[in-house]
């Protein structure tokens, strides 16, 4: 997805280890500035997973090739996932940050596989 996740501002309290000058006049030096640290929503995100669903049309050899290409899995691992999709109806291919999961799903859709993202419960 090309849309950037909105930034979440988190106020960071002043570091107590920092010694502020005491022999200054308040007219020349103002109160210490509280820095604000920004963290992206992604950093606070819970894991998401990429799920591929069974599809009677896609060939087993084709699905295996797609898993190898998209996730860089070795053939035996790709085949295990393919068989899981075929026998159980779905397989979790990857889990991690949402943005990357969306990117994987986009790639899988590019190969016409039925894939979705799900929040890890």
């Amino acid at each position: 997805m090309s849309a950037q996740p909105p930034a979440v501002e988190v106020a960071v309290p002043p570091d107590p280890r920092i010694v502020h000058p005491t022999n200054t006049t308040s007219s020349t030096i103002g109160a210490p500035t509280i820095e604000k640290e920004t963290r992206t929503e992604e950093a606070l995100d819970v894991p998401w997973q990429v799920v591929v669903h069974n599809d009677p049309v896609n060939l087993m050899s084709y699905v295996t090739m797609v898993f190898q290409r998209v996730f860089g899995y070795p053939r035996d691992k790709a085949e295990r996932h393919m068989l899981e999709v075929h026998q159980i109806g779905r397989s979790i291919l990857w889990s991690g940050m949402r943005e990357r999961a969306e990117l994987y799903v986009q790639q899988l859709h590019g190969y016409l596989l039925l894939a979705t993202i799900e929040k890890v419960s």
Binding site: M1, S2, A3, P56, V57, N58, L59, S61, Y62, M65, E102, V105, Q106, H109, G110, Y111, L112, L114, A115, T116, I117, E118
Partner: protein
């Protein structure tokens, strides 16, 4: 029909007019327009449930990219298939040569076509796995044959990519 790899090409020779016609139909068959179920299958939602925001973004940003991707693949295949045009001698067998660098485009177009045809005809898994079904007695049988023929080509291309 014979199919083999020759250097940087996949050669499909001894193509009779019927199979040549099925090949010519790949780009048209891959088009889901006018069939909402096929369109829904080709451009499936990225998430189950009610994440409407993600689905809306997907439609806006991802779907057009996927459309371009699929269209490019069918155009490449369409250009390769022009070898089957020309002087029509209906009873003469034809040869089609597919550059191996077009293999991905062929895999995609064949897959699009198989998905669209299968969705339009609402084929069951049982029907799709019934490779011995014959003879072709109806339009539905012909569509099933088409799906299986395209699948056979996909298998061959995949095997060649694996080598």
């Amino acid at each position: 029909m014979e199919i083999c790899r020759r250097k940087n090409q996949i050669e499909i020779s001894e193509l009779d007019p019927f199979l040549a016609e099925l090949l010519r139909q790949i780009p048209a068959s891959a088009n889901p327009e006018g069939a909402p179920a096929a369109e829904q299958r080709i451009f499936s939602p990225p998430i189950n449930g009610k994440e409407t925001e993600l689905c809306a973004e997907w439609k806006m940003y991802v779907e057009p990219e996927l459309r371009r991707l699929f269209q490019t693949a069918t155009q490449t295949v369409g250009a390769d298939l022009e070898q089957l045009n020309g002087n029509e001698k209906s009873l003469v067998s034809r040869t089609l040569r597919i550059p191996t660098k077009h293999a991905d485009a062929w895999l995609s177009a064949l897959n699009q076509a198989r998905l669209v045809i299968a969705t339009k005809n609402n084929f069951t898994e049982l029907e799709l796995n019934d490779h011995l079904r014959s003879p072709i007695g109806s339009r539905r049988d012909l569509s099933l044959f088409q799906v299986n023929f395209y699948g056979f080509l996909q298998e061959f291309i995949l095997r060649e990519l694996d080598c």
